[in-house]
């Protein structure tokens, strides 16, 4: 009836879930993402890669993010749909040749007198 594991639970954890020293991956971390444009309050230094530690990647499968993945009980948020839309646009721009359609779209709204 406390927060930590009972002896029996600890044994189960040790046997079933704990990553072993013999494993190639001994620890897994979700790195704190650094946005240069956003001042991070705590200004944590970027985490250096360390042997045996796997840093979960939010970008490695970026190309896969151009469509919403199936959900279970929690639907995608608006922010997630925005993210998917942006990835779709990036993907579209990547495959374009010649004139950039996005630039053409935006140019129609450009009025030089607005540019101070």
């Amino acid at each position: 009836k406390d927060w930590f594991l009972s002896e029996e639970e600890f044994k189960l954890w040790d046997r079933l879930y704990r990553l072993r020293d013999s494993d190639k991956i001994k620890e897994i971390r979700l790195p704190q993402v650094q946005f240069l444009s956003l001042q991070d309050e705590e200004n944590r230094p970027a985490e250096e890669p360390t042997a045996g530690v796997h840093h979960l990647s939010l970008s490695e499968w970026g190309v896969w993010q151009d469509h919403p993945f199936p959900t279970f009980r929690v639907d995608h948020s608006d922010r997630c749909h925005h993210f998917v839309n942006i990835m779709q646009m990036i993907e579209k721009l990547r495959h374009e040749e010649g004139e950039c359609s996005y630039e053409l779209d935006i140019k129609s709204h450009l009025h030089m007198e607005d540019v101070s």
């Binding site: 796997h54 490695e60 993945f69």
Partner: protein, 72 residues
Amino acid sequence: TGFRKELVSKLLHLHFRDDKTRVGADALQLTAELLRIFVVEAAVRGARQAQAEDAAQVDMEQLEKVLPQLVC
């Protein structure tokens, strides 16, 4: 299966600036349920991706594919 209230309380207190901050029983229960839903959602999305790829098990690759949209 779920997160024990005592564990949730301990997790929350890690982030409180004032040690005297208290958490009500309802808030603890709600947070425990939120954590449970988050874990199950992550697990099911990963499992579905593994099924879509005819994988034998859910490996980190499948989880990393669903992770960006999950944390969004």
